[in-house]
Symmetry: C2
Subunit: 430 residues, 2 copies
């Protein structure tokens, strides 16, 4: 019977067939220890050569790393083995003999690995990372569905920018029209919230920024909930509950992958609401005390974020930034119009901003002025202004950067490993 | 207590507050019947003017369609009311008085409605449609998760085309590089399947086709499962089970929305595996008998699809098309090399192709030849060929077009209504 390695423990004492790839091999006299991966988990298959038929022994000869094969054998439970079981091989069938595999156990530079990303993802570490990514998205959507949110897909090809016209990728549309690749689904999600109350967008977003940091990709995925009749308190609570749910779901469902990643999980286990909440003013004060040269009115840089988040064991929520350093659509604080009703969430352990959100300006006249102040092309925003002409309501939302959340939960330094095929300033291949 | 209208039946006899928009109003002497929508469902609120305080009576004066408001009142169960309940109004608070609403009950042309898509989605019919769309995607992912599939996000910005270089949108990348918007996540999903066995991509895809039909969008969403160690039987079974699950989930969870859409559901209730399966040859024979002028070797046009699917009550699966009219990566039938090991699924009731898939060519030499035959830029496909150099395995997958599935299940003629902000050959606004 053919089985997935993930299910092997349920087949103790049975003869099964697994189909996969040779990950590693160790020989000791007449015994060969094959580490087989099938995409669900790796398993050790122990082959005692004298017990095998000639065809199987032939198949084992000259077997290269990543060759594909089918192994049939008896399942023995063994606590010490990875996955808790091993296979006592009875038969081996070669599917395809791999050319000498370019990725070796030795250290390769990041460029080489990125050139071979289509193969690199087969490594147990990269596979575990991408599995954690999938679980993060699944858990986040599951949480939103349970809470009554409706998925609302925003368009990628758009006539204008959400946050200004710099850092936009331009595309040729049909009939010589120009289009831009979306930087955020938010404006569209706002229209969605007026129709469906609680919505979220989930999709790729694009920034043509020449930022070469470990936290930036030019193409990255965002999850953006947007809620009608909601304010800052509402999205603050949603953000901390969402993030906590995601962390706990990954801990529960992907322990093997976190182990493969050598992720220290004690710090994740404590992630639960409420998260610490400070204002931007508090943040500046803390940072200055800790030696940062930041001044009130400046945005937090990557180093400031790291320094600030290192003061807390849970993600920290920073609210009420100066309106001037935030986007045009953010609603001001009625008690202090110099500040925006906004929040950023910074992950612990130096992973930086994972969430940014705000209450949206819902007054037609005020929003109209902001669009002028920011010198945005008004004709592209007429439809957005309409949302304030026809039954405007208080509303708020945020964006969660998938790759940064995955980097934090998986404990990897660079976001480029948290997406199957990262797009970086110098890279669109493979 | 503030509640969502969807939950109102659980609050019979209680005084609740709903926040939403005025959808419609009918006056009869001292009684006003307000139809309020809050994005979850509509509800009728009955206001007896003499019972209201002056502020509430003021709020009701001159109230326009789509004005936002908060209504507090007593919940009465009433079988005849939409949603099974109505509210006996005690207090009305105006949130925002809408300008005269541009979309009236009268018939508008499609251009006008599309220009106002950001408002049109508030109509009960469009909201229901988008809710069905969300449920289709949720149900599809849920099915794949249960079956052990891992989400694997393919890039949008790519160096080359999946199915040839025509009908590609070009984008300006950084440093004067050219990039193209992905037509399909498939090639990347194949790399994913070699790493994670069973994967799927879900995201927007792009075709710069000047097709002005009711089945085409330039930006549309695809769900693309890809499976290592699988053949045509495997994906055929997966396709029919996936589609059946989606249909049954929508019927079960969104009966109110299907009712709003006036969808006749009897034909959907019978959607269950197995689906009828015919070969391309059979299809040509059936079509010719029914009067089509199609000849063997030609691809099925929209009218052929409609004619063919009208012969069946369930979706019909058509396999083994001539390889020449199919994509370069499809594996030929070993018993008849002129045919591809492929499948298309056509929805009933004339909704056309909703799924297209195939076994993939897994032999390096053969694939290499095909790339040359199709005059594809080989350097862009080196990574794809690598998948056949290093442990190649039989594998297969398909793509399901989200908008077409939604159009069929919801019973709407044109796919432009099945996505929040459709992109058509002449439209990228709003």
């Amino acid at each position: 019977m053919e089985i997935a390695i993930r299910d092997i423990k349920g087949h103790a004492g049975e003869v099964v067939t697994v189909k996969g790839w040779l990950y590693n091999r160790r020989k000791s006299g007449k015994v060969q220890f094959l580490l087989i991966r099938d995409g669900t988990l790796p398993i050790q298959a122990v082959a005692f050569l004298p017990d095998l038929d000639p065809a199987s022994r032939d198949a084992l000869k000259g077997l290269t790393k990543e060759s594909s094969l089918e192994v049939t054998g008896l399942v023995n439970l063994d606590e010490r083995a990875p996955g808790g079981a091993e296979i006592q091989v009875r038969e081996v069938r070669l599917v395809h003999l791999a050319d000498p595999y370019p990725i070796a156990a030795k250290e390769h530079g990041p460029d080489f690995l990125m050139d071979n990303r289509h193969l690199w993802i087969r490594s147990l570490r990269q596979s575990a990372l991408l599995t954690v990514r999938a679980e993060v998205i699944r858990a986040a959507e599951e949480f939103l569905h349970e809470a009554g949110y409706i998925r609302f897909d925003a368009p990628i090809l758009t006539p204008a920018a959400c946050e200004g016209t710099t850092s936009l990728f331009e595309a040729h549309y049909l009939y010589d029209q120009k289009a831009y690749l979306s930087q955020s689904g938010q404006l569209y999600a706002e229209a969605g919230a007026m129709a469906l109350k609680k919505v979220y967008t989930l999709g790729p977003t694009f920034r043509a920024e020449k930022s070469k940091t470990r936290r930036h990709l030019t193409e990255f995925w965002m999850l953006e909930p947007e809620i009608a009749f909601a304010g800052l308190d509402h999205i603050t609570r949603l953000a901390e509950e969402l993030v906590s749910h995601v962390v706990q779901a990954v801990l529960k469902r992907r322990p093997t992958e976190l182990k493969t990643l050598e992720r220290e999980t004690a710090s994740l286990e404590g992630i639960a609401p409420p998260f610490p909440k400070i204002t931007y003013s508090d943040a500046i004060e803390i940072l200055q005390k800790r030696g940062s040269s930041i001044a009130f009115g400046q945005d937090l840089g990557g180093e400031d974020e790291t320094l600030l988040s290192s003061q807390f064991e849970r993600p920290v929520i920073v609210t009420h930034y100066p309106a001037e350093i935030k986007a045009f659509y953010m609603k001001r604080d009625p008690e202090n119009p110099g500040l925006a009703q906004c929040l950023d969430m910074l992950a612990p352990e130096g992973y930086g901003e994972i969430i940014g959100g705000s209450v949206r300006e819902d007054d037609y006249g005020t929003l109209s002025e902001r669009i002028e102040e920011h010198q945005l092309p008004r004709e592209s925003f007429e439809w957005y202004l309409d949302l304030r002409r026809y039954g405007s309501v208080p509303h708020a939302g945020f964006g969660m950067g998938i790759e940064r959340v995955v980097a934090w939960i998986a404990g990897v330094k660079h976001v480029r490993e948290t997406i199957p095929f990262p797009r970086l300033i110098h890279r669109i291949y493979p």
